[in-house]
Symmetry: C2
Subunit: 128 residues, 2 copies
DNA sequence: ATAGACCTTCCAGTTACAGTAAGGTCAAAG
DNA sequence: CTTTGACCTTACTGTAACTGGAAGGTCTAT
């Protein structure tokens, strides 16, 4: 299967799939004309990657997860450890964003937002 | 004032300040020896930038906010519009992360995390 | 034969810096 | 007077994970 159709199947743009090949995540076969040729196994792997990326795992995480996925003797504890760490990172990010949101929401709410120059948002920013 | 002390004052690493000069956000004076020389006005501007960045505004947003800050005839509505858009982006990001968190938390919770290979996390990933 | 939809590789750009190298400057100590 | 160490300078590279574009080859249908 050519790259465009493969991309449609797994939900990734061709560009991204080529990138994944560049960095060694997948290695599709090549047809005689030089076109990439994706087998079911490749598609399966790409689907795995797409899903992991959509859950916010980094490429490096994905590399580790792929290795575990392919290791029939893996310990589920290893997988869980990666997921837990990622979960903690996500929660930290959420907390940071929620702080920002609270402050911003206050500021937006307190600003008249009309033609006059007086602006609590600007004032807050300049006070540091 | 030299760059290191300026950085300490406003809470930004020297590298970041040089970068901000590179992209035209600040233009400190230069002493005879070529060292950057920061006035109170520069420090004030940098403080403004540091605060805006800490609220998650992009560099481009900061550029616009700075212009409004320095425009005594600004309309507060213009400031508010930028803040509102940013607020919406943050809220969207939070929502996305919360989705991830929910899914991941479920998976982590459902995985025994021991030495056995059976792993609901891997299974979820491979199903897409 | 040709049009258009694919495919290929390679290079540049994105965000907001951080790291490092090579070298100039300054203040204090020996 | 020199040396040391802390500071400063510019310039180049690398980061994450792609995206866009150029130049050119291939395939299919008309």
């Amino acid at each position: 299967m050519n790259i465009k159709d493969a991309g449609k199947r797994v939900g990734l743009p061709p560009k991204t799939i080529r990138y994944y090949e560049d960095i060694g995540l997948v290695t599709p076969d090549r047809a005689n004309n030089g076109y990439r040729d994706f087998s079911d196994a490749h598609l399966h792997k790409l689907t795995f990657l797409a899903r992991a990326r959509s859950l916010g795992f980094s490429i490096d995480d994905c590399r580790d997860l792929l290795a575990l996925w392919e290791d029939q003797d893996r310990a589920s504890g290893d997988v869980r450890a990666i997921a837990k760490e990622h979960l903690a990172a996500i929660e930290a990010k959420i907390a940071g964003l929620q702080d920002m949101r609270a402050t911003l929401a206050d500021l937006v709410q307190s600003c008249a937002g009309d033609a006059r120059p007086d602006c609590p948002i600007i004032e807050n920013l300049q006070r540091g």
